[in-house]
């Protein structure tokens, strides 16, 4: 069994190595890591990019918490989210989409099936060997970023290494779908398109669910803040009569409370329903959320807040005062952080259950089929 496992993994490694995309993805990962983490440095007054004039920004100055937030924000928001989680993942799917269809094609499968190994083991080993592509890429890409950040900035984000198993698991979810389509169609195009479409559907389902959750948390936060202000004004009103401006303000808060309450009452049940629905699909996004939490990556408002005051008049809508804008931004940050708070165990177990069903169907089909 060990000899056969070794043979299957070695064969897949050679297969992947023979594909140009393997090297292209590796090259882009290296370029991205260097571009994101090796092209700037921090000075006592701010940031210096390559040979350009230093940018004064006390929030990003050497030794500040802002600097660490900036680096982990780049790692999470750009390197993991956009490149490793999307770009590299799509290229990995393109590279490995033909692995199982080729293995199952006429003339190739006969030989494998005629060897002393059971069909289910054969399929599962071939499937797992397909994970090699992403595993190798991630070890090198995440490892490189980890080393560059550590050596250049003396900032060793050990949790970043969690990106290797977590993103490999993300690919596992997608590759389970690919395996099912491969076994039924034996077509590379169908496998690739089917997997990408399934991924898009999963993404949209998660996006909708996240939007409801975010809206629910954000509205809840606004509701609490409005409630506190109303209580404050009501306390003042017990001591003295409110001025007309204060009364108008209180009335406005009471209106806001009703509005927030109404939104919350609508959104909250949908947030729960959507969570129940996505419980039955492989949740690719949850893994990135967990990673973001572990590396203490800033939420978007916090990250952009390092460079600009996003509550000032330049960005504020005309009909919104500074306090309301500040509330909205803070509520959004609270909601962003809340969305990241997932139960990893529940997410992984339910996702793996969904994958087990997909792989179970694929294995059953493979073991029963004549080739």
């Amino acid at each position: 069994m060990m000899t056969q496992t070794y043979a299957i993994f070695l064969d897949t490694f050679r297969y992947l190595r023979s594909r140009y995309l393997f090297w292209i993805v590796l090259g882009i990962s290296a370029i991205a890591a260097v571009a994101l983490f090796a092209t700037y440095s921090f000075t006592p007054d701010g940031l210096k990019i390559l040979w350009f004039k230093p940018i004064d920004n006390p929030q990003l100055a050497q030794g500040t918490a802002g600097r660490d937030m900036f680096i982990s924000g780049l790692f999470n928001g750009f390197y993991v989210k956009f490149w490793l989680g999307w770009g590299a993942m799509i290229l990995a799917l393109i590279s490995t989409a033909s692995l199982l269809p080729d293995f199952l094609s006429d003339g190739a499968i006969d030989l494998s099936l005629s060897k002393p190994i059971s069909r289910w083991k054969l399929l599962l080993l071939k499937f797992l060997s397909g994970m090699l592509f992403v595993l190798i890429q991630l070890v090198l890409a995440v490892g490189l970023a980890y080393l560059i950040i550590g050596i250049r900035f003396d900032l060793w984000i050990h949790a970043a290494l969690l990106g290797i198993p977590l993103l490999t698991l993300q690919f596992f979810y997608l590759y389970s779908i690919a395996a099912l389509i491969s076994v039924f169609t034996r077509s590379t195009i169908a496998t690739l398109l089917g997997t990408l479409i399934a991924w898009l559907i999963i993404f949209l389902a998660q996006f909708v669910s996240n939007s409801f959750i975010k809206q629910a948390y954000s509205t809840q936060e606004l509701l609490q803040r409005t409630e506190q202000r109303i209580v404050r004004y009501e306390e003042i009103s017990t001591e003295r009569e409110l001025s007309s401006r204060e009364q108008s303000r209180l009335n406005s808060y009471i209106e806001d409370r009703e509005s927030h309450q109404s939104i919350y009452n609508f959104v909250e049940p949908w947030a729960k329903r959507s969570q129940s629905i996505i419980l039955f699909v492989p949740k690719t996004g949850d893994l990135q959320k967990y990673l973001a939490t572990k590396i203490k990556a800033p939420v978007s408002n916090e990250f952009f807040g390092l460079f600009m005051d996003i509550s000032n008049e330049e960005f504020r809508p005309a009909n919104m005062d500074k306090e309301t804008m500040q509330d909205a931004l803070e509520a959004e940050s609270v909601a962003d952080r809340a969305v990241r708070q997932i139960s990893l165990k529940k997410s992984i177990l339910s996702s793996l259950l969904a994958c087990a069903v997909l792989l179970g169907i694929a294995t059953r089909r493979f073991t029963k089929r004549d080739y």
């Binding site: 043979a7 064969d11 050679r14 060897k115 002393p116």
Partner: protein
């Protein structure tokens, strides 16, 4: 002789309506080269795939190497070269051998040594570092044959091994088969190249429309079918002479036939040949040569195929070989 393959009543129906095999009984003895022949779509590859567990039979009893058909562990002792095989083009010849050797469960050291030995045997040692994508069909076939021998199998199953191989290559493969037989391997050969089979096989089976029509040694199959061929000269009308001879000898079907300058007396009886000679001499016809011969495998094959009853539902797939996928 111990039976290496002893299968009975093998049936296979695809998609509940296409009967590819209709109760095949077959026995292959240890150490022999056994040839399975039949026209395209006869079900030969389906039968081979059932033995190799690539296809599951609808019905089957019997054994391969003493174990029930479909037993995975038995495959460790079987080497297989499928028809229309497709080896990974990104592997070199040596890597193909080592990969499939490992898939058969061979240890690393054993694989390395065996691969070198087999590459030499099939004449591919000079190309062992080249990728299969650059190989010709014949070269791939040689590597395929070597691959089937990587686990030092007791039984070697070869499906159309000379497909795409030039005459010299075919001769080499025949020599290898003979060499393997001498080493004690049992070889099951599936081919529609009758001359190939005739040259190397100890026993053959003829399969037509999913059934074995004849089975045995070529001598067994041609026993009683010996004939005399008389080559003549200066005959005005050979067809007339042949008809006259037919009446004289009073033979049952098949009757006396003629082709070019040769008259064939379809009887092993030497007296009949004597009568024919006397008749020809009386007619003042010069006899150039008289020889006793047996029907060729091709004759047996054609006879078996043509004797299929009219209106019989085809057992396999018209216009295609092997199983649908």
């Amino acid at each position: 002789m111990t039976a290496v393959i002893d299968i009975k009543g093998v049936e296979k129906t695809f998609k509940r309506r296409i009967k590819a095999l209709r109760g095949v009984d077959m026995a292959v003895g240890e150490g022999e080269i056994f040839g399975l022949l039949g026209p395209n779509g006869a079900g030969k590859s389906t039968l081979v795939k059932i033995m190799m567990t690539v296809i599951s039979p609808s019905k089957c009893s019997g054994t391969v190497l003493g174990q029930k058909v479909g037993d995975k562990a038995t495959l460790r002792q079987i080497g297989y070269l499928p028809e229309h095989h497709r080896f990974p083009p990104y592997l070199t010849g040596r890597q193909v051998l080592e990969h499939f050797g490992a898939m058969s469960g061979n240890a690393r050291k054993q694989r390395k040594a065996k691969a070198s030995e087999l590459l030499e045997l099939v004449g591919m040692e000079s190309w062992h570092k080249d990728k299969l994508g650059s190989y010709s069909k014949g070269m791939r076939q040689r590597v395929g044959l070597a691959q089937a021998l990587m686990n030092d199998p007791k039984l070697v199953v070869l499906d159309e091994p000379t497909d795409g191989v030039d005459p010299l290559g075919r001769r080499d493969i025949r020599n290898i088969l003979t060499h393997l037989k001498d080493e004690g391997h049992t070889i099951f050969l599936n081919s529609h190249l009758l001359s190939e089979l005739e040259m190397v096989c100890d026993r053959v089976a003829i399969m037509v429309k999913g059934m074995i029509r004849q089975q045995g040694t070529i001598n067994d199959l041609t026993d009683g079918l010996e004939r005399y061929e008389i080559e003549i000269q200066n005959a005005k009308s050979i067809d007339t002479i042949s008809n006259q001879l037919g009446s004289l000898l009073n033979l049952d079907s098949p009757s006396v036939t003629s082709q070019s300058n040769t008259i064939t007396i379809p009887s092993p009886d030497v007296q009949q040949a004597q009568l024919a000679i006397d008749f020809l001499r009386k007619q003042d016809i010069a006899i150039v040569e008289i020889r006793q011969s047996r029907p060729s495998l091709e004759d047996l094959f054609v006879k078996a195929v043509e004797s299929e009853p009219e209106g019989h539902t085809p057992g396999a797939f018209s216009g295609s070989k092997g199983a649908p996928s």
